[in-house]
Symmetry: D2
Subunit: 332 residues, 4 copies
Amino acid sequence: MIVMLKPAYDPNQLEVLRLWLEEQNVHIQMNQGIQSTVLGLIGDTSAIDQDLVEQLEIVEKVTRVQEPYKKANRKFHPQDTVVDISGVKVGAGHFAVMAGPCSVESHDQLMIVAKAVKDAGASILRGGAYKPRTSPYAFQGMRELGIPLLLEARKETGLPIVTELMDVSQLDAFADVDCIQIGARNMQNFELLKEIGHSKKPILLKRGMSSTIQEWLMSAEYIMAGGNENVILCERGIRTFETATRNICDISAVPVLHELSHLPVIVDPSHSTGFSRYVTPMALAATAAGANGLMIEVHNDPPRALCDGPQSLTLEQFANAMGLVNNILAVR
Amino acid sequence: MIVMLKPAYDPNQLEVLRLWLEEQNVHIQMNQGIQSTVLGLIGDTSAIDQDLVEQLEIVEKVTRVQEPYKKANRKFHPQDTVVDISGVKVGAGHFAVMAGPCSVESHDQLMIVAKAVKDAGASILRGGAYKPRTSPYAFQGMRELGIPLLLEARKETGLPIVTELMDVSQLDAFADVDCIQIGARNMQNFELLKEIGHSKKPILLKRGMSSTIQEWLMSAEYIMAGGNENVILCERGIRTFETATRNICDISAVPVLHELSHLPVIVDPSHSTGFSRYVTPMALAATAAGANGLMIEVHNDPPRALCDGPQSLTLEQFANAMGLVNNILAVR
Amino acid sequence: MIVMLKPAYDPNQLEVLRLWLEEQNVHIQMNQGIQSTVLGLIGDTSAIDQDLVEQLEIVEKVTRVQEPYKKANRKFHPQDTVVDISGVKVGAGHFAVMAGPCSVESHDQLMIVAKAVKDAGASILRGGAYKPRTSPYAFQGMRELGIPLLLEARKETGLPIVTELMDVSQLDAFADVDCIQIGARNMQNFELLKEIGHSKKPILLKRGMSSTIQEWLMSAEYIMAGGNENVILCERGIRTFETATRNICDISAVPVLHELSHLPVIVDPSHSTGFSRYVTPMALAATAAGANGLMIEVHNDPPRALCDGPQSLTLEQFANAMGLVNNILAVR
Amino acid sequence: MIVMLKPAYDPNQLEVLRLWLEEQNVHIQMNQGIQSTVLGLIGDTSAIDQDLVEQLEIVEKVTRVQEPYKKANRKFHPQDTVVDISGVKVGAGHFAVMAGPCSVESHDQLMIVAKAVKDAGASILRGGAYKPRTSPYAFQGMRELGIPLLLEARKETGLPIVTELMDVSQLDAFADVDCIQIGARNMQNFELLKEIGHSKKPILLKRGMSSTIQEWLMSAEYIMAGGNENVILCERGIRTFETATRNICDISAVPVLHELSHLPVIVDPSHSTGFSRYVTPMALAATAAGANGLMIEVHNDPPRALCDGPQSLTLEQFANAMGLVNNILAVR
């Protein structure tokens, strides 16, 4: 951290700052210049609150040099992390497609979709039991009744399952789930992040809809700080002024994250566009940009889906998309 | 809801739609035109998923007429709601200032600030025990130890207290709290919203940092649908591209909310700007625009505050701001 | 400018940087630390491209200390600038209201509105002759025919006029105009800015709809660098994800600009909200926040206005708003 | 256009609306329902201002059915447009890469880059003579001296050239240029758009940094309405809250535009990311998503580039990127 002092600073206040920093095990290296005095903070500054320092009367400006995340940081962990979801690897050379319905709706629906996505080449089954819905009057998912159906579909198809956890109180129901998804709206539900940090299960952490990449990595850091390093990052679109698509899929997050972090990065073209007709082009774009996998919503009868039908691919569309994705994978 | 069909639609598909809508107690009024066929959906459409209808093959476009919220809607509740926080009224003609430190840090700090804000004219004491922090390494608040200090400060000053709840599991500790705050990051933590909907305590619901006003009212609706109609809305700034302030305070949300809803609306100029020097002008702006109250961070020693120091007013600055706010109140 | 080098930098490359900087009359003050080497650039760095330096192989990070604008910067011009528009002062203690129709539509319309806004207390008449419209098929303004009508209205009422210039080629027609408005879409039309920098006429510079405050001040700098220091800044709302209002009025821009610059700042609550029913509350908010004036659209028959009718106040609404604004002014 | 009336509307006001619409050659089809009355407007509504109608006292809500653009609309022009730039085709099956330096800096620099990009497979040479710069103190391009260098490079390499026009007054200097670029900041410089609408030269229209896709198509419509249908759309990133990249490249604009319009769509991964290390992945993503071409900045010595060095590829990096792009093209 680089701290620039105001031209005429009070040396007593500097002394107060120095003492406070030393309590945090950070040392000051002073650089007295003609125009300005610059302090270099040496040591582990990840716990130093930049805003706090910036507020001091003697301080003009603060620049963070060291990223505030450590465990998620590629600098301290140069090799790509490979997360193992009950035998299916994600990360480095391992590309994984997670597919399935937005919501688990019934035994039959889930089995039809699960078998179809497996046949088309998906390696993990997704499906929501607990559903975050904007309206209290909308279908809230099958909730605790949905998990056993997912487990049954896993038994039937051999595909590990990933499903969304919305609250700490639901954790018991997730005991047999292979990978826990944390949705966009919970990316900064810090109590939840701390709790799953004590688990060993792989975590799929979706980006908050207006979260910066740094905030997203800080949320991964919350999980990892608790001891769980099996984190997969999932870009699902960010909120902007544009209304032609539900969100804007930030494809550049893929190379940015590969640079900043060692964690696997996948892309969800379904939620990020909101319309099935844009899902395949965006799946191809994400693959070409270097994503480690995709999460795609697939439904046997999208117009009748109880949730997010407009963005679900049909079984045929998904099979077709997989073919095109594999073509890109072959040359990337 | 107005549904426009595609020029050449399949009458069988229309029949399927009609049957499905009738299952939801919604009737279709058909308007066959020369260029297009328009359906008016009659009945309570708040539970009809607009996206779902839009996805149907025969549908060109859907427009919602009725807002998807009912209990929060001024149309069905024309009078302003007045929320009573242990004797302090908020809403309609009742203007309330909630002030206090960002975080409860110690008994002494809290008492000093509490007495000072009371003397300056605040009517409710704010203070965070549980703190949502972007970094797992930052101060997380005094947590369960902070609540008793707040209760003590209430006893000492007579000011009711408002403090943030971050997880359902903390609810027991909040039994004696006067008003529960739901922070921006939890505005769409639907499980939490459902839970506090079963409480009777006043709820201060902050706007999510990239939530639309409609989404915000839908979150109020979640609480109200559970039976708790004591909801106060708090604008705290939205996220944009601008970096000169931490967020952009959407002052126009005040008149927009007064039009759409009967719930009281207050503004937090501290979080919405992020810098103490902008807090007073924005407090005055919010007051002039018709807010029902303010939430302001005050600290006896901002540069040493453990959290959000840069945006806290000193005791003197707060007293000065209150004088100016009262001037505006006198003429608005 | 503070330049932090990468841990292992090539001293030859540093030498190249030093020579290049010296060509720009900037000197390097080196601060060799244990962890990192930090360069302080001394001299006038406003012409140094931060991105360019950041790109150098040896550079880790660059922080700008000095703002890249000089003439618009309060640091070098501590007193508030007062702009004189044909006798009407704007800035410091001088509050000015510019009001009138969005578009000049006819002689009669303009006279009716001009007299009414004068009677209600406006001191400058606004009205668009050349109109930037999103659609080529929409009314484009009376163009060169509109200016004489504005001049006539000035003669009749004594109010100086402000009207929008869209292209350098229109400058001749503006010879007798009192104040030239540069619209949001032209805030970064740098050729136009350079041209009006050679004029001596007061310029009303609207903020671009997604421009940062710094970019806005850089555009003011373009005009001032040409020799024209009569610049008034006008906040007119920024683009965000929210759709309840046309734009979000960034009221906090008022105190931020007062801190960074000496130029007068006014607010346009009409364009920033897009709906007449929100104009008065936002006018009051802007006044309370310390704006030096307002720009408000007023029409004698808003539903029949050829442009932006939805956001225009009627004559009565405007008179009422002026009364309320004056109440705030009296106590602020 | 579908107009919903308020429940209790004044029939006289409806009569006024009907007369006004008939003056615009639009007819009303009335649909009287139990709950509401809905008007269908029949005829060419592209010139009807939606805001204007929405503002009427009797109107509850207006929905546009027909897009407000016609010439750019795929509905009225189902086949893909192919734009011919002096023999190089762009659109439909024709993929074109435009590459070259951000700014023309000297004869030697331009020749070196031009030959290298040609050898690597680019088919059009880009290079800025007039440069829009945020700061008046930054290098503004070689301006009129740059164009002859571009023409010379064309002669030498046979590559047609594309370069940015910033003002109508520069048009004469562009007489021999093959394709005129309109930059993001001028996307809504309507006077400029009208002027180039009278030209027959191919136009490369970049998206404004906070323009919706519909506004962008309306700007294309301005050019086409003047008679020039040779418009190529270029996505160059939109402004959001994220700071890890200069802008966010909206890759989904590619499939959205292919659906809404027949015009060719290319992507500029250089400006949209702002960092050379992200350019290649984004070029691949754009190609995979179906873009009709790319615009890429290439420099022989990026760290010494006078403009936008950080985002320029070296000659080697560009050759490498072209190889990868061709791999994607071969399988898409």
